[in-house]
C-alpha cells in the first residue's frame, strides 16, 4: 500500500507543478516528480478492470479487431489480458506474473513464455500499454525543451532505461501537457537509436477509487503508430473501467484456462 506520506507528497507536488515548470526548465528532481505523479495517478491501490477495444490497421491487410478484458493488481504487479471477441480469438490470454509474460491459447491448451516486446494479439500494442505506468521506476529523465503539440504546451522529456530494468524500449521521448501533467505523446526508440513507434494519448479519464481514496487516471484512447512498418497503426479504446476489488484467483494460470474450458 502506498504510504499516506507519499500520497500527500505527490498530491502537493502535483498541485504546485504547473506553476513551477512554467517558470524555468524543470530540475532533475522536478522531472522525477513528474514521472512519479504520472505513475501514481494511474496506479490504483486496489484492483483495476477494464474492457478494451483493440483495432489494428495495416496497409494491404485485413484489420485486426479484438475486444478484451484487462485485470490489474498493481500492488503485486499482476496483469491479465483475456480476449473476449471475436469468437475465434475468445479465450486467448496473457498473464503477467513478476517479470514473466505468459500467453495461453485455448485452441491448443498450452502456455508459452513471451517477451516484453510481445505484440499483444499480433497488434502494435504491448503489455506495457495495458499495465500500470512504471516510468519513474524504469527510466531516468532528462529535459529536452518546452514545446507545442497541437494547441497544448508540453514538456519534452527524454527517458533512458535504468540499468538492469527489463523494458521493451531502452530510450523513450515523452511529451507531457504542462497544464494537466498528462502524457500526450510518447516515442519509443530501440537501442540502435531507431524510432520504433509513436503513441498518442488524446484523452485521459479519471475515476474515483475507494481503495486509493483518490482518482485513478487512465487513457481513454491510445493511438499507436508503427514507425518501422509504415501504414500500420493500432488503436486501443478503454470502453469501461471498474476499480472494485477482484478475486485473487483471476491472476493465475488455472483461472485463465478455466474460462475457455
Amino acid at each position: 500500500m502506498m504510504s499516506l506520506k507519499r500520497v500527500l507528497l505527490v498530491s502537493l507536488l502535483a498541485m504546485t507543478m504547473h506553476a513551477e515548470f512554467a517558470l524555468a526548465a524543470p530540475s532533475d528532481a522536478d522531472m522525477k516528480t513528474m514521472l512519479v505523479t504520472i505513475d501514481d495517478r494511474q496506479q490504483n491501490n486496489g484492483d483495476y478492470k477494464s474492457l478494451v477495444y483493440i483495432e489494428q490497421k495495416e496497409k494491404d491487410k485485413s484489420d485486426l479487431v479484438y475486444q478484451a478484458v484487462v485485470y490489474r493488481r498493481d500492488i503485486t504487479d499482476k496483469l491479465v489480458i483475456l480476449f473476449l471477441k471475436p469468437q475465434a480469438e475468445a479465450g486467448k490470454g496473457y498473464l503477467r506474473v513478476d517479470n514473466n509474460l505468459f500467453m495461453y491459447d485455448p485452441a491448443v491448451g498450452k502456455w508459452e513464455r513471451r517477451t516484453e516486446r510481445e505484440r499483444i494479439g499480433g497488434t502494435g500494442s504491448q503489455r506495457s500499454d495495458f499495465d500500470q505506468s512504471r516510468l519513474a521506476e524504469e527510466y531516468t529523465p532528462s529535459y529536452t525543451a518546452e514545446e507545442v503539440l497541437g494547441k497544448y504546451t508540453v514538456h519534452h522529456l527524454e527517458l533512458t532505461a535504468k540499468r538492469g530494468v527489463d523494458v521493451a524500449y531502452p530510450s523513450v521521448q515523452l511529451w507531457i501537457d504542462t497544464a494537466t501533467n498528462n502524457v500526450l505523446k510518447r516515442q519509443d526508440y530501440a537501442l540502435s537509436g531507431k524510432l520504433m513507434r509513436t503513441t498518442f494519448y488524446p484523452e485521459w479519464q479519471k475515476k474515483y477509487s475507494a481503495s486509493k481514496k483518490a482518482e485513478v487516471y487512465f487513457p481513454k484512447e491510445i493511438r499507436i503508430y508503427d514507425e518501422v512498418e509504415k501504414g500500420k497503426n493500432t488503436t486501443v479504446v478503454m470502453q469501461e473501467v471498474d476499480l472494485n476489488s477482484l478475486d485473487d484467483s483471476i491472476f493465475t494460470k488455472a483461472w485463465l484456462e478455466s474460462k475457455s474450458r
Binding site: K49, L51, Y53, E55, K57, E58, K61, S62, D63, L64, V65, Y66, Q67, L82, L84, K85, P86, Q87, A88, A90, G91, V97, D98, N99, N100, D105, P106, A107, V108, K110, E112, R113, G121, G122, L149, G150, Y152, D177, N182, L184, K185, T198, F200, W204, Q205, K207, Y208, E215, K220, R223, K230, N233, T235, E240, N244, T252, K253, K259, S260, R261
Partner: protein, 701 residues
C-alpha cells in the same frame, strides 16, 4: 571427266592435301577433337543432370506441371531459396472444380492439391516441458507422475543452482542474483514440496515465474508446411517414402516431418552436434588435426546440461553407475571426479581414440532415457502461424512420422518441406470467412473509431484544444465483461481430429501438381492443359517442374546458359583459328590451285576440295572427340560425381551423379563440329576459288 570421276578426284585430293599438310591438319584436328570432347562431355553431363533432376523433382513435390492463380503477385517456388519470406501466389478457392476440369485432359493422371505456409514451433526449454507435464499431472490427479516430475524439477533446480556462482560473477545486479538464489533455495527445500501437496497451483505458478526463466531460453523453430492430401501425395510421388512412424491415416489430421528437418533442427542440440562430429570423423577427418571440430567437441561437452535435465533421478543414478564402469574400461584414473555431470562432460569430450566407444555408449545407455527430439514422432505439436487474416493461429497436430524423398535425402532444400493434411493447413493459413468478417464489422461498429493517419495524427488529436481530462461517470454500474462473449471452445472443434477425406479436395488450395500418365507426351499435355484452363475459365497458369521448383530451376537455367555461352566461345575461337590457318594454307597453295585451274578445274571444284578436306577432318576429329568424351562419361558413370553442395544434391538427384551418354549427345557433338569446320572453311575456299590461273602461275596472288 564425268561428275563421278570429278567427285572421286575431289576425295583423293582432299586426303592427299590433309596428308601433305600434316602439321596444319594436326593443329586443326586437335582443336576440333578438343571442341567435340567438351561439347559431348558437357552436353552429356547436362542431359544427365536434367534427367536426374526431372526424376527427383517430378517424383517428389512438383509433378510434371504445377498450376496456380494466373494473377499471382509472386512466382510459385516449391523450393524456398535462401529466404523464408512469404510469397503471394494467389489462391485456388474451389479446388474440386479445378480437379474435375483438368482430369478431363487425356494425359492427366492426377491433380494433387497443395498449399505452402510457414508454421512456427516454440521449442520450450527443458524445465518448461517438465512444468507443463507437472501441471497436467496435477490437473488430472496423477499422483505418481506428480512425484516423478517433482523430482525432475528438483534435479533441474539443483543444476541451475550449480551455475549461480558463475552467474553472480558476471551479473551487474547482485540483488537480482540473490533473489534468484533465494527462489532456488526455496524450491530445493522440503517445505516447498510439502506446500506443493496442499496448494500445487500456487507452487506451479511460482516455479513458472521464478525458476523456469533461469534456464536457457527455448528456440523458435520455423517449419515450411506443405498442406496436401497425404494419401494422394504418397501415391502419386514415387520419390516419397516413410522413414519413422507411420503414414497419416486417411481422414485424420496429421503432420509428417521431413527426416532432414527432424535430424537437423528438431533433435536435441547436444545429440545433433555429437552426430555431426561422429560423421565427420567417420568420413576421415582427424579430430586431432581439425581445430574447428575440436571446438565443436568442447561446445558439446559444455552443453551437458541439455542431457542431464532430461534424466529422472533414477535414470541419472543408473547412467552414473554405468558410466563409472565404462570409464574403468577406458582407463580413466579413479581420481577423476565421478559425479554424473563430470562424467557426462568427459563422455562428450571425445578424441580420435575414444569417439567410437563413447558415441556408442551415448546412444546405447543415455539416449533411450532422453527425449531426443523436441517434437517426437507419435506426439502432438503446437504449430503457430500468422494467418492471412492477420490473427495468430495455433493448431495442435500429431506428428505421425518422418519421410524422405528418394535421392534427395541429404538435401536441405528438399528436406525443408514438411507434409500435413490440407484441413489443418487451411486453419494455419487462416483465410477469414464472410461470417468472421461480419463479426469484426459488428464489433467495430460498437466502438466507432475514426481512422487517423500518422501524418495527420497531431493535428487531428491535439488541434482542437478541448479538455484533455474527463471525469468518468460516477457510480456507473459495474460492467459485465462476459456479457455477449462466448469463451468456451465448442465440442465440434475438439471433434475435428478426423474429417471426411473428400474435404481435402473441396475448398481452398494454393497450387496443384499435375501428374501425367505418359511423361513423354509433355508438350501436348501442356497445350491441352492450357486449352482446358481457357475453356473452363479456371484463371490458372501452368508452369513446368523446372519453373515451379524456384531457385533450383533458376540454377539449372543458369547452368544451361553458361554451357551454351561456353560452347559458343569455344567454337568462335576455333572458327577464327581454323579460318586463319586455312587462309594461310590457301595462300601457300596458290600455285597448286592456279595449276589446277589452268588445266581445267572449275571454281566449284576448288571450293569443293577445300570444304571436303575440312569435312573429312571435322568428321574424323568429331568421332575421336566423341569417343574420348564417351570414355570419360562411362568412367564417371561407374564411379559417380559427388555432389559438392546442397543444391547439387537436387541437381544430381542424389549424393552422386552417375552420368550417361546418349546417341543424341554424340550426334549433336559431331554435327556441331562438322558444321563449324565447314563454316570456318567457307571464306578460305572462296578465296581459293577466286585465284586466277595466270596470276597463280606467275607466283603471285
Amino acid at each position: 571427266m564425268n561428275l563421278g570421276d570429278q567427285l572421286r578426284m575431289l576425295v583423293v585430293l582432299a586426303f592427299r592435301s590433309l596428308w601433305a599438310h600434316q602439321v596444319k591438319s594436326a593443329i586443326i584436328g586437335f582443336i576440333l577433337v578438343g571442341g567435340t570432347f567438351l561439347v559431348v562431355l558437357f552436353g552429356a553431363l547436362l542431359s544427365s543432370i536434367e534427367g536426374s533432376m526431372s526424376r527427383s523433382i517430378t517424383s517428389s513435390m512438383s509433378g510434371h506441371y504445377q498450376v496456380y492463380d494466373a494473377n499471382a503477385e509472386d512466382e510459385l517456388a516449391l523450393f524456398p531459396g535462401f529466404s523464408f519470406g512469404s510469397v503471394d501466389i494467389g489462391e485456388i478457392p474451389d479446388f474440386a472444380k479445378v480437379e474435375k476440369s483438368l482430369l478431363q485432359v487425356d494425359n492427366v493422371r492426377a491433380v494433387v492439391p497443395m498449399g505452402i505456409t510457414i508454421g512456427t514451433v516454440f521449442g520450450a526449454n527443458e524445465i518448461d516441458h517438465v512444468l507443463e507435464s507437472l501441471r497436467n499431472a496435477v490437473r488430472d490427479g496423477r499422483s505418481d507422475d506428480v512425484k516423478v516430475l517433482g523430482e525432475r524439477v528438483r534435479v533441474i533446480a539443483q543444476s541451475i543452482y550449480g551455475d549461480m556462482e558463475a552467474r553472480a560473477a558476471i551479473s551487474s545486479d547482485p540483488e537480482k542474483v540473490a533473489r534468484q538464489r533465494d527462489a532456488l533455495n526455496l524450491v530445493l527445500s522440503e517445505k516447498f514440496w510439502d506446500d506443493f501437496e496442499t496448494d500445487p497451483l500456487t507452487a506451479l505458478d511460482f516455479l513458472d515465474a521464478n525458476v523456469a526463466p533461469l534456464a536457457a531460453d527455448g528456440r523458435l523453430l520455423y517449419l515450411r508446411m506443405i498442406g496436401t492430401d497425404p494419401q494422394q501425395f504418397k501415391k502419386e510421388f514415387e520419390g516419397f517414402y516413410l522413414v519413422d512412424g507411420e503414414m497419416i491415416p486417411e481422414g485424420q489430421r496429421g503432420l509428417l516431418l521431413s527426416k532432414r528437418t527432424y535430424e537437423k533442427l528438431i533433435k536435441n542440440l547436444c545429440a545433433r552436434d555429437f552426430d555431426d562430429v561422429y560423421h565427420d570423423v567417420k568420413l576421415g577427418t582427424k579430430l586431432s588435426e581439425d581445430t574447428l571440430l575440436q571446438e565443436k567437441v568442447r561446445r558439446i561437452s559444455r552443453q551437458y546440461q541439455r542431457i542431464l535435465f532430461q534424466l529422472t533421478p533414477e535414470d541419472s543414478a543408473e547412467v552414473a553407475t554405468k558410466l563409472r564402469e565404462f570409464r574403468k574400461t577406458q582407463n580413466v584414473p579413479e581420481t577423476e571426479p565421478d559425479d554424473i555431470a563430470a562424467m557426462v562432460q568427459w563422455l562428450l569430450l571425445v578424441n580420435d581414440e575414444n569417439i567410437d566407444e563413447n558415441y556408442k555408449f551415448f546412444y546405447d545407455v543415455i539416449a533411450p532415457k532422453m527425449n531426443l527430439y523436441e517434437v517426437p514422432v507419435g506426439q502432438e505439436v503446437i504449430l503457430r502461424g500468422f494467418t492471412q487474416s492477420g490473427y495468430i493461429k495455433s493448431v495442435k497436430v500429431k506428428v505421425w512420422g518422418t519421410y524422405e524423398f528418394s535421392g534427395l535425402e541429404s538435401s536441405d532444400l528438399a528436406g525443408a518441406a514438411n507434409v500435413m493434411d490440407l484441413v489443418t493447413w487451411r486453419e494455419l493459413y487462416g483465410r477469414m470467412s464472410d461470417d468472421q468478417k461480419a463479426e469484426l464489422d459488428s464489433i467495430r461498429e460498437t466502438v466507432g473509431v475514426q481512422d487517423v493517419s500518422r501524418e495527420d495524427a497531431e493535428a487531428a488529436l491535439f488541434g482542437g484544444g478541448g479538455e484533455l481530462e474527463v471525469a468518468a461517470v460516477p457510480d456507473a454500474p459495474v460492467f459485465d465483461e462476459f456479457a455477449g462473449a462466448n469463451l468456451k471452445r465448442g465440442e465440434e472443434e475438439a471433434a475435428l481430429n478426423s474429417f471426411d477425406p473428400a474435404t481435402l479436395h473441396q475448398g481452398l488450395a494454393l497450387n496443384a501438381a499435375i501428374i501425367l500418365k505418359d511423361p513423354s507426351g509433355e508438350a501436348k499435355a501442356l497445350t491441352d492443359l492450357k486449352a482446358q484452363i481457357e475453356k473452363d475459365q479456371l484463371g490458372l497458369q501452368v508452369v513446368d517442374w523446372q519453373k515451379a521448383s524456384g531457385i533450383v530451376g533458376g540454377f539449372l537455367m543458369t547452368m544451361r546458359g553458361v554451357l551454351y555461352i561456353a560452347i559458343f566461345v569455344i567454337f568462335l575461337v576455333a572458327l577464327v583459328i581454323i579460318n586463319n590457318l586455312m587462309v594461310m594454307a590457301t595462300l601457300e597453295r596458290t600455285p597448286e590451285i592456279g595449276t589446277m585451274r589452268a588445266i581445267g578445274a572449275q571454281r566449284w571444284f576448288v571450293m569443293g576440295m577445300f570444304i571436303l578436306e575440312m569435312l573429312v577432318l571435322g568428321l574424323v576429329s568429331g568421332v575421336i572427340g566423341s569417343i574420348a568424351a564417351a570414355a570419360v562419361v562411362l568412367w564417371l558413370g561407374s564411379t559417380g560425381i559427388p555432389a559438392p553442395a546442397d543444391i547439387a544434391v537436387i541437381f544430381f538427384g542424389g549424393d552422386r551423379l552417375y552420368p550417361v551418354i546418349s546417341a543424341m549427345d554424340v550426334i549433336f557433338g559431331i554435327g556441331l563440329i562438322v558444321f563449324v569446320s565447314v563454316l570456318s572453311t567457307l571464306y578460305p575456299a572462296f578465296v581459293a576459288a577466286r585465284v586466277a590461273p595466270v596470276v597463280a602461275m606467275q607466283g603471285k596472288e
